[in-house]
């Protein structure tokens, strides 16, 4: 080995050897490999060597360099290991950043939206205070329908529109169906609308304000089997793969046929228990969009059809978390909020 190289090798090794802590070692690294470092300067000399010896000199430099790097690494790991030897009580609590909490309703909304996104639905936002026409009339609910009584629905003081009627606090999200049809003009439509809704009632299972979720699907040749498949997809994602749905005949003004959608009870898994109706829990309502509703939304029912579905978010939460009183959700007791 060229004596020059040998000197550098020795010097480097001794420098490394002297390092007591990682920081020293880092300084040493600069002294060896830095801009003006030992090895760097050696490399610079290669070009000045007689061409016939240059190759072997270069090789020697490289092998020296390799040796130093290995030596360095060894030293480094020995320093790391020896850094701290006091025994730690690993059961003591870690230092963590305090996280906050999302409201249960938001958590449910996020899950639902994620699932329907996979099926190509997009989240839209429609008025929570809307004209009577959007909330009732266009949804095939006649003037004398009980929901249109001021017994059940909140009305707004003041303005009436000659075409659209009074302003109402929407008692459901279905006004979004009409708004979406008007916006989209031409199917296909795959929409989700989630909003605060209002009804004039309060008890263990009702609050005057609640959240509803609405889905609308309009296209050509849509069938009941499509609606079934959509609900199966949702249920297995939201409640888990063991839960199944069923459709029961029901009645809503804005769908024909109409269905109640049930999901197998998560407690008894469909066997029947005190929390469910013979093994089933009601999830929500659905149905094939009534031709009159499509027509009101400016869509030709001879060409297109579709389905719609909706349910109360709080209900699904109560089903998932065994909440005994829905009013707890809006009392905003911090001890409640921080549970989730």
């Amino acid at each position: 080995m060229n004596p020059k190289i040998k000197v550098v090798l020795e010097q480097a090794k001794s420098k490394i050897e002297q390092a007591r802590v990682i920081k020293d070692l880092e300084q040493t690294y600069v002294e060896i490999f830095g801009r003006d470092g030992l090895v760097t300067n050696l490399t610079k000399q290669i070009k000045d060597i007689d061409p016939k010896d240059r190759a072997s000199f270069g090789q020697s430099v490289n092998s020296a360099k390799k040796e130093i790097v290995e030596y360095f690494a060894k030293k480094r790991s020995s320093l790391v290991i020896s850094r701290s030897s006091t025994s730690i009580d690993i059961t003591a609590p870690g230092k963590k950043t305090q996280l906050g909490h999302l409201h249960l309703v938001s958590q449910a909304i996020e899950e639902i939206v994620d699932i329907f996104k996979k099926l190509g639905y997009s989240l839209q936002s429609y008025p929570e205070i809307d004209w009577d026409w959007y909330a009732f009339e266009s949804l095939n609910m006649p003037k004398n329908h009980p929901a249109r009584d001021d017994w059940e629905t909140f009305f707004i003081k003041g303005d009436t529109n000659p075409k659209y009627g009074n302003l109402v606090l929407t008692p459901h999200t279905s006004n979004g169906q009409l708004r979406e049809m008007e916006r989209a003009k031409n199917p296909p439509i795959r929409m989700i609308n989630i909003a605060r809704c209002y009804r004039r009632q309060i008890d263990v299972s009702h609050t005057p304000m609640f959240h509803q979720f609405e889905g609308l699907f309009v296209d050509k040749n849509v069938s009941i089997t499509d609606l079934k498949g959509t609900f199966d997809f949702f249920t297995s994602h939201f409640f888990g793969p063991k839960r199944v749905t069923r459709l029961r005949p029901h009645h809503f003004r804005f769908t024909e046929p109409s269905f109640e959608v049930d999901v197998t009870c998560g407690i008894c898994m469909g066997k029947g228990c005190r929390l469910c109706k013979a093994g089933w829990l009601e999830l929500g309502g659905s149905g094939m969009v009534h031709p009159k509703v499509l027509k009101a939304g400016g869509i030709d029912p001879a060409k297109y059809n579709g389905f719609a579905f909706g349910w109360g978010i709080e209900r699904t939460i109560a089903m998932k978390t065994e909440l005994p009183d829905i009013r707890l959700l809006f009392q905003n007791d911090i001890r409640f909020l921080e549970q989730f």
Binding site: G100, H101, L102, E128, T225
Partner: protein, 678 residues
């Protein structure tokens, strides 16, 4: 609405060997849902939910008819046997008949009015089977005549009433709308003040019936009754509902009248009543049948296209099977290879209008559980999502920043509204609030958040809350503005903490906010510690300390800081796009400079001036310390600026740095009348 049906009674009309539980399963899958089955001695009782469009199934016989159609279509042996006496002759049994003068003032009140008088009635308890059935269904048995009316209501779904003929003064019944301030004492002994427009019957002197709801006490059947008017009607459902609501008084009868009655079922029900009265009370018919009938429109045939049926249901249903299903349900059916023409039975006339109605009948009886599940094919629409999709992400980010989300009612009280200083005429006000606590739609979230801080203030000392919700502001002749707001409330906090939070928020939102000291009216914050938030020239919100009066209103101790930002506005503004800047090849020279300023000098201005003066060599100016003490003087503050001098092509030379430092020190001292510390 739910109805309790003893299975043994159902089996009087539904002749089948199928087990009760199986019948229930068939019904739930294809018709009205049997929600519970209860064992009752040897018998079972079905608790059945009947939807409002199916009043025809709200009776034992109606449900039997429905069950029979389902069972028969699905290949089960089953037969429907009607109750006895539906076709009983209603001719008088005596030659000289008793008079009863009936007048219906307004035909819209009552589409069909049928009555007949019976004599020779022996009042006694009903036979055990009738008594037991009534009691199983929750109706107290009274005597054989009164029980007939309740029995028929449960059996056929047709409510009826019985009067003591001898108590009807003048043998006269006038059916009319009530006037203002009329009242009647009903059979339950209650005096009821009637709202105007209630359907009532009066005899020659007084009101004797609160129609469709409950009879009058003055004309009821008693143990001494000999002659009885059997009375079967249909009433205008809307008027009945209005009255029951106004009186907050509903009965089994009114529930049925509200849903509508099969007009063609009225005479069979009366016949059945006569049959039972003859059987159980030895009665004889002593009047002509009174039948005042406003004939309803005849049910129209509906034409169903077979290909539409199949496309809608998603499987092929043989045309013959479809037709049979409708026939079992009582439709008159004729069909070709392409279409089915079906005329609904009279008991379904309200409910059957269009092709889709027939599709529902065929599909449900076929069984939704027999249909496969498919996911819709077709194109996914290219639709832009609303800002609510972004809000979901935003909420998550805030949670990780340590904030807790609340959801509070959007309806607020007059007092809350007053705190916001929004004038009532600009607020959205409910016409029919539940209580004064919920009267206005809020235009700001801050009072509600503050309220939640107050509620929880003894549980924690550093509550950090946020809420995202629509707010509502009145617009003349249009729907209210409904912008999405986000608001924060920090308990025991300070201005810089909430400002930092808002700055974090805008980093997440990828917009650059500017904070401006605002004068003017701030209903919820003290002006001294309040800033408006701007993006470009647009005001998007504000932040500051909660106003003393508001804190006092909620009884909050300590300093609460609040912020509210209009997300609808923010999301509509262009977001900042980050483009690539090459990483600096040469390290900066970093120096600190401490300067004493007047207390009032805004830090943001100092930083921006220093940057301006130091350009281009000074790449960054940070504030690393602010302090005040007696040494530097009253009304003064010392600020340490950290200056980074940096070049892209080399490390700055010391002379260059010195030169810039001196210029900055000189200019800052001059502009702000400040004093650079040595």
């Amino acid at each position: 609405m739910n109805i309790q049906i003893p299975v043994s009674w159902l089996r009087d009309y539904l002749k089948t060997d199928v087990a009760a539980k199986t019948v229930a399963n068939y019904l739930t899958a294809s018709g009205p849902s049997v929600e519970r089955i209860e064992k009752h001695g040897e018998d079972f009782i079905f608790d059945v939910e009947i939807t409002t469009n199916r009043p025809d199934a709200f009776s034992v016989y109606g449900l039997a008819r429905e069950a029979n159609a389902i069972l028969a279509t699905n290949g089960q042996k089953s037969q429907l046997v009607p109750p006895k006496g539906l076709n009983t002759k209603l001719d008088p049994d005596k030659s000289h008949s008793l008079p009863l003068d009936v007048q219906v003032k307004d035909k819209s009140l009552c589409q069909r009015f049928a009555a007949i008088v019976i004599d020779n009635v022996q009042i006694k308890p009903s036979p055990a089977i009738i008594k037991n059935r009534l009691e199983t269904c929750g109706i107290r048995a009274i005597n054989n005549i009164v029980d007939i009316s309740n029995y028929i209501m449960l059996e056929l779904g047709q409510p009826m009433h019985t009067f003591d003929y001898d108590k009807i003064r003048g043998a006269k019944m006038t059916l009319r709308e009530s006037q203002a301030r009329e009242s009647i004492r009903t059979l339950d002994g209650q005096n009821r003040k009637l709202p105007k427009g209630t359907i009532v019957i009066e005899d020659s002197e007084r009101l004797i019936d609160l129609c469709g709801i409950m009879g009058g006490e003055n004309s009821g059947v008693s143990t001494r009754t000999k002659r009885v008017v059997l009375f079967v009607q249909s009433y205008d459902p809307i008027r009945i509902r209005k009255t029951t609501q106004a009186l907050a008084f509903r009965t089994d009868a009114s529930a049925r009248f509200e849903k509508g009655i099969d007009l063609e079922g009225i005479i069979p029900a009366l016949s059945r009543a006569v049959y039972l009265a003859k059987q159980t009370a030895g009665a004889k018919v002593v009047s002509e049948l009174i039948d005042i009938y406003q004939k309803a429109e005849k049910p129209k045939p509906i034409i169903l296209n077979i290909s539409k049926l199949n496309s809608y249901i998603g499987v092929e249903i043989p045309e013959e099977k479809a037709g049979k299903t409708l026939e079992f349900l009582g439709f008159k059916v004729s069909s070709t290879s392409q279409t089915i023409t079906a005329t609904p039975p009279t008991w379904r006339f309200q409910d059957m209008e269009i092709e889709e109605d027939l599709i529902e009948e065929i599909a449900r009886i076929y069984g939704y559980h027999n249909l496969p599940s498919t996911l819709p094919k077709g194109e996914v629409p290219k639709t832009e999502e609303s800002i609510l999709a972004n809000v979901i992400e935003l909420k998550n980010a805030l949670k990780y920043l340590g904030l807790t989300e609340i959801i509070s009612y959007s309806i607020i009280s007059k007092e809350f509204l007053k705190l916001t200083q929004l004038e009532e005429k600009d607020a959205v006000e409910l016409q029919n609030p539940l209580s004064t606590d919920w009267q206005f739609m809020r235009n700001t979230l801050v009072p509600s958040l503050t309220n939640v801080v107050a509620q929880n203030q003894n549980l924690k000392s550093n509550i950090k809350l946020f809420e995202v919700a629509k707010t509502y502001l009145r617009v003349t002749n249009d729907i209210p503005t409904q912008d999405v707001h986000i608001a924060f409330a920090l308990q025991n906090s300070n201005f810089l903490e909430i400002k930092g939070l808002v700055e974090n928020l805008f980093e997440i939102l990828k917009r650059e906010p500017k904070f401006q000291k605002a004068g003017g009216k701030n209903p919820l914050s003290e002006n001294s510690q309040f800033a408006t938030i701007k993006i470009g020239d647009k005001i998007v919100g504000g932040l500051g300390i909660l106003k003393r009066e508001v804190a006092d209103y909620f009884d909050i101790a300590g300093d609460t800081f609040v912020a509210e930002i209009n997300l609808s506005t923010v999301y509509n503004l262009q977001s900042t796009v980050h483009t690539y800047h090459p990483m600096p090849k040469f390290p900066p020279v970093i120096e600190d400079m401490s300067v004493i300023f007047d207390e009032k000098t805004p830090v943001a201005e100092i930083v921006s001036e220093a940057k301006k003066i130091g350009s281009p060599l000074v790449k960054n100016v940070e504030i690393i310390d602010i302090f005040r003490n007696g040494k530097i003087g009253k009304g003064k503050k010392s600020i340490t600026l950290r200056l980074s001098y940096q070049k892209s092509d080399s490390t700055p030379e010391q002379e260059e740095v010195t030169r810039y430092r001196e210029i900055i020190a000189r200019e800052i001292s001059r502009i702000f009348q400040a004093q650079v510390r040595k």
